[in-house]
Symmetry: D4
Subunit: 218 residues, 8 copies
Amino acid sequence: MIFKDKEAILFTGDSITDAGRKRPIGEGKAEALGNGYVLQIDTLLNVYYPENIYRVINTGVSGNTSRDLVERWQTDVLDLNPDYVVVCIGANDVWRQFDNPHCFYGHIGPQEYRQNLEKMIELTKDKVKGMILMTPYYIEPNKQDLMRKRMDEYGEIVKELARRHNLLCVDLQEEFDQYLKYRYPAYIQWDRVHSGPIGSMLIARAFLRAVGFDRKFI
Amino acid sequence: MIFKDKEAILFTGDSITDAGRKRPIGEGKAEALGNGYVLQIDTLLNVYYPENIYRVINTGVSGNTSRDLVERWQTDVLDLNPDYVVVCIGANDVWRQFDNPHCFYGHIGPQEYRQNLEKMIELTKDKVKGMILMTPYYIEPNKQDLMRKRMDEYGEIVKELARRHNLLCVDLQEEFDQYLKYRYPAYIQWDRVHSGPIGSMLIARAFLRAVGFDRKFI
Amino acid sequence: MIFKDKEAILFTGDSITDAGRKRPIGEGKAEALGNGYVLQIDTLLNVYYPENIYRVINTGVSGNTSRDLVERWQTDVLDLNPDYVVVCIGANDVWRQFDNPHCFYGHIGPQEYRQNLEKMIELTKDKVKGMILMTPYYIEPNKQDLMRKRMDEYGEIVKELARRHNLLCVDLQEEFDQYLKYRYPAYIQWDRVHSGPIGSMLIARAFLRAVGFDRKFI
Amino acid sequence: MIFKDKEAILFTGDSITDAGRKRPIGEGKAEALGNGYVLQIDTLLNVYYPENIYRVINTGVSGNTSRDLVERWQTDVLDLNPDYVVVCIGANDVWRQFDNPHCFYGHIGPQEYRQNLEKMIELTKDKVKGMILMTPYYIEPNKQDLMRKRMDEYGEIVKELARRHNLLCVDLQEEFDQYLKYRYPAYIQWDRVHSGPIGSMLIARAFLRAVGFDRKFI
Amino acid sequence: MIFKDKEAILFTGDSITDAGRKRPIGEGKAEALGNGYVLQIDTLLNVYYPENIYRVINTGVSGNTSRDLVERWQTDVLDLNPDYVVVCIGANDVWRQFDNPHCFYGHIGPQEYRQNLEKMIELTKDKVKGMILMTPYYIEPNKQDLMRKRMDEYGEIVKELARRHNLLCVDLQEEFDQYLKYRYPAYIQWDRVHSGPIGSMLIARAFLRAVGFDRKFI
Amino acid sequence: MIFKDKEAILFTGDSITDAGRKRPIGEGKAEALGNGYVLQIDTLLNVYYPENIYRVINTGVSGNTSRDLVERWQTDVLDLNPDYVVVCIGANDVWRQFDNPHCFYGHIGPQEYRQNLEKMIELTKDKVKGMILMTPYYIEPNKQDLMRKRMDEYGEIVKELARRHNLLCVDLQEEFDQYLKYRYPAYIQWDRVHSGPIGSMLIARAFLRAVGFDRKFI
Amino acid sequence: MIFKDKEAILFTGDSITDAGRKRPIGEGKAEALGNGYVLQIDTLLNVYYPENIYRVINTGVSGNTSRDLVERWQTDVLDLNPDYVVVCIGANDVWRQFDNPHCFYGHIGPQEYRQNLEKMIELTKDKVKGMILMTPYYIEPNKQDLMRKRMDEYGEIVKELARRHNLLCVDLQEEFDQYLKYRYPAYIQWDRVHSGPIGSMLIARAFLRAVGFDRKFI
Amino acid sequence: MIFKDKEAILFTGDSITDAGRKRPIGEGKAEALGNGYVLQIDTLLNVYYPENIYRVINTGVSGNTSRDLVERWQTDVLDLNPDYVVVCIGANDVWRQFDNPHCFYGHIGPQEYRQNLEKMIELTKDKVKGMILMTPYYIEPNKQDLMRKRMDEYGEIVKELARRHNLLCVDLQEEFDQYLKYRYPAYIQWDRVHSGPIGSMLIARAFLRAVGFDRKFI
């Protein structure tokens, strides 16, 4: 497990991260973290590493794209001095191209997406003990689906940037793909984007695996 | 156009029909009809056949399956003495099998679906001037998608029953399939089930075509 | 049809245009456009021209007169860089003279109305591909009615300015007059000013006719 | 003045009478009487006849037609043992024919209207010291207007029944007609049916004149 | 009657004047004037002088003392350019001495009250056609009651200032005293300060008498 | 102190007792007792007699007269098997005669008031360890005030019945009279009927004195 | 793992189980299960046993004691035909003795508690594949604390009954005790009774261990 | 009694003081003081010292620590010119260390707590007639409880500073300790921190004892 006692782990991103967290900063008693994967991770860290105190912070904002995230990166990430930064962004960058194709100005193409992520990495890398990227995902098993294909492009960018900058990377699409062998997408979430309790646990599990969770579950 | 002046046309079904209609009966000034396809049909009939007065009634109920509809058929359809009855049911019969697979008791299989529809037809056929069936639909272009395949089975049942009982039938799935050549499902509706303004107009247009709408649009 | 793929069409005016649109800008998924004639036009363009993507924007504000519209013209029209601008204003300019005769400062007489419209035209004409004027209207068939007479004066100003500046013009009063041969005003709207679903469809149809809608309805 | 100390005067009818009164019985401190003409009458009786205590009761119900009123006549009028009964009904009997022409079952034609009123008179006449009829009205000066013409038919029925049964009658249409020489209908009320503060005072004044108000105003 | 066609009459003061008026300025359709004496005056002027249009404005603010009123006099009175200004202030100046004796800083003694009123008169006198003072009042018939005695002191100041500056003055306390010969205070209002419908009509009547109302009531 | 460990003391009456208590029975954690004198008594018993557990119950109902109380005496008093019953009723019996003089049917004259109290006493006396009567009161120092005079009549009835039936009696009017030597009524409560925090403490103190409170306050 | 594909597992108890579940039956999409330990168990079963579909049902009711649970056992447990029944009751049986010591009638002593549990077991044992008891708990590490001691008595009863009837038993107090070696009670929950996210996960883990959860966590 | 007629006594602190007071300043009629110990003190001063008028002010703010209090000391204490200042702070300084151990930045250690208090004392001492310190408390009888031990440390600091600066000091922990001999903490408050009605009376009594309350309770 890479996290040490008293370290601060900041999660940021869009509604998947936000999940109804407290404003302006999602930190403190449980409800402050929203009811999504951040809460699940915090709960599991508490239950399985009770000898440590981790400071879990959530600054996800519903509806955010990578462009929005860059704009608030200074105040919502760097100013909070986290030891670790976890980013999960891109769902809206892609979704808006499909559900609001006529709002061109809100579409973040792959090139801008890559630049935004690189900007975040550059601003952060040297100021933290670790930065972790999570790929965006789409709960759709059909890889020929247009939006799924597009999301996969963005996931590739995340994975490539993680490799290049030597960052931990969590491939959430892969998690969901495994799970979709057993369940229809609407079981997890009608809109195929938000995570619901099952998806949140899938994300939490993948994240904890990546950071070296090493306790026995039962 | 099959409808004559002063005739009452009753629409019933699930949330696609309901669309926020007034309780207990959706009838009267526009807002009483909800904001879905029933309102669109009423509006178009008013605009294009102003020499006639049609009594449009909406008794759709959100969440209903064909089983629920049979149970309230007497009070919500027959007791209102319509001249025409229009039914659009089945979305929840199928959807529940995919988003609530564990609630077995709420799943309406194809056999029960057929029986429920036949029951409605038998109870109604001789009491009205016409009964019109609309197929359920799923806003998903991939015909290999599991839920789409299932929905197609139910659509086939509707079409077959319409043929056997010599009823007008509106193939809504076909309407949406044509439209999906141009747009991604999330543009119409995130959950791929409800119709939104565009889907409501597609349904209204298909319905009006089926009943012999014969006015020039412009 | 004058509109081309990816063009932005901005509608502005008073509550007839507003119809509950999203703030600050009415743009995006359907509910952002309110539930009036702008939504009807957007829906019909989507259904009948699926090969094109139009960016429909609504910046109507309930209660606005032409004076209010001039004041916010820069931010709510020009700054949004539309390809086409559609204006429907004047109902409150006239109405206030009749329902609030004692609030003199809020009355926009014909002379100021003409100046306000000319101001809008001058500011806009050279910056857009087209500007379309829609006359104000009053759902009252009695041409001797005092408010109807007054509204007709304002409608004449609109038509004259359209001719002089060579702009497309939609005579909404004429649309409603045709329809009032069949229906009593209270059927459309109790206050004889707002449009309701039927009036919204009448406006949408007249607008689409003016811009060269050329598809078969059924 | 026909009312004596401690007598109970009951007003009933539709929304014009109701005006937001308390449920189930509108009686007691001022707010219990709603904010319409009944409150104005109660206030003026209190101010000008302070030596008497009148028990003013309001059982108007918004949306009621004469048919509804007959149905609740026993509980909402007779059971309350008033000394005087004042009825103002008919607006909705007529209005529904124009704003909901397709809801045939809710239309009360002149014949049923007459029968309903006669029923009320017969049930009441011998049980009270006086029964007072007020004609329905429409705030529309154009006597050729279709709804105005219809309303005048109903007003004639009220006046004729009052004559035949020797009841006091208040011609509210005449009051509004006099006032409309000076003001446009929308100044009083956008829908031309409800009374607003000015209309309520016109009704109160006409009523008090009819019952013999005999004090100096200033 | 001193008011002429198209003149603006501004009423200001505390909650007795405010009565729920619209913000920021109480002007326009009836509900904008609140539901107190200002509405009654506006209604009676409309009904009895229909040949004139009066612009009635209400800028009363609940809880105000004469000190508060001086502070907002420029924006809430002078900037609105009224032809006539009517002031009814002082109830809270006195009341706070009795219901909040410990909040010394909010007590306006007779000397400051006089100064505040003189300030208002000086600022206004030469800018309007007329200024009318209404005395504060207390709905308590016992002249030995401590708060009644105090209120009478303030009423004397109003009357004296009106004499000195030659302004119209309405003695509201006298109006209520006459009425209290017939009714117990709690009938009008539990707190003996606010006016209720009956008190509002008493104030309206006294005001109209003072300004020369000259029409027959019935 | 007459109350022993584990005894149940039930308070009932009107809004002075009710004070926002929980429904259907006011019993349990503090908020269940409302925020009036019952809570004060419960708090003081807890603080000063911590060695005992008293079961304090509140079944006061806002707006109740003695007539209402008799009607619900079985369910709201006797069925709860209290050891002691405390009654404070009569404020509304009197008040309604002054603030709703025209609602004759709601007036409880002295004779009925006496009968109602006697009925309660008879039904209760033999079933409890003690019954305690508290006089109604009016926060008005002027004994010539009409409502104060009337309230004194009712207070006399309470005291006389207490004497005759040998019940403890708390003269609340006397408490308030003593306090009114120092404070103006509006300081305690604008309507002179409800008790506010100060009045609640006055009532609690008088009650505790009557039942033999014997601890040092500080 | 004892649960098989398609089996129904019903959880019932008090607010710890309820956790905001849907009414009348907590079953279906995730939010129907509340946000407590039942949701956690359902989520973990879904994630780790995706090849099975379990029907998880929640009929906990906030504030319930074992007495309440017996009363609704037929409708809320047996009528739903579960394969497994899980009961967690007793927190309120004990808590009320400490936070409402004066409400004697609501106290469930150890004897009644045992009888209520036995009643549930007898009614159920032969109708299900398994019944699982969970002990009540108190998040207080001090075993001399009065309420903790009392809770331990009730926990012993549960364990003894489980042994005697040969039922699976989950010792929740033991779970919390282990965890309290690392954390102060207020970290988990201010009131030391409800579970919060951490407590819910502790309960879920203990439950899953007892039923033979056999998958690798990561 | 140290307070004299017309003196202003300001209470400040955290939620125990705040108790729902009015914003921005808690002063005026009773509800302005919240429903905690400040209201109790105000009520008792009014009832027992009716010959004096005390100006009681409440500027407590829920959630405040001593650090927050220092920051708003100028505006919320000194600017209001009180004669006496009463401070009760520290509960959150300690609580956050136990219920939010991971939010390190919000923990106020004993050293900072002492400095904050000294800062308040220095800023205030010479500007008021008296400053009174109340110790923080924890409603937990077990002195080995970790949070209780910590709270005792802070209480010692308060007492030591009071001695050193010669200020009145109220040992609230001692009050609660005496009371806890008779009652379990959950009887007073589930969270063991807020005071509830009983705790508020205990605080009020201890405070009044300290300032020389010298009247007979009964």
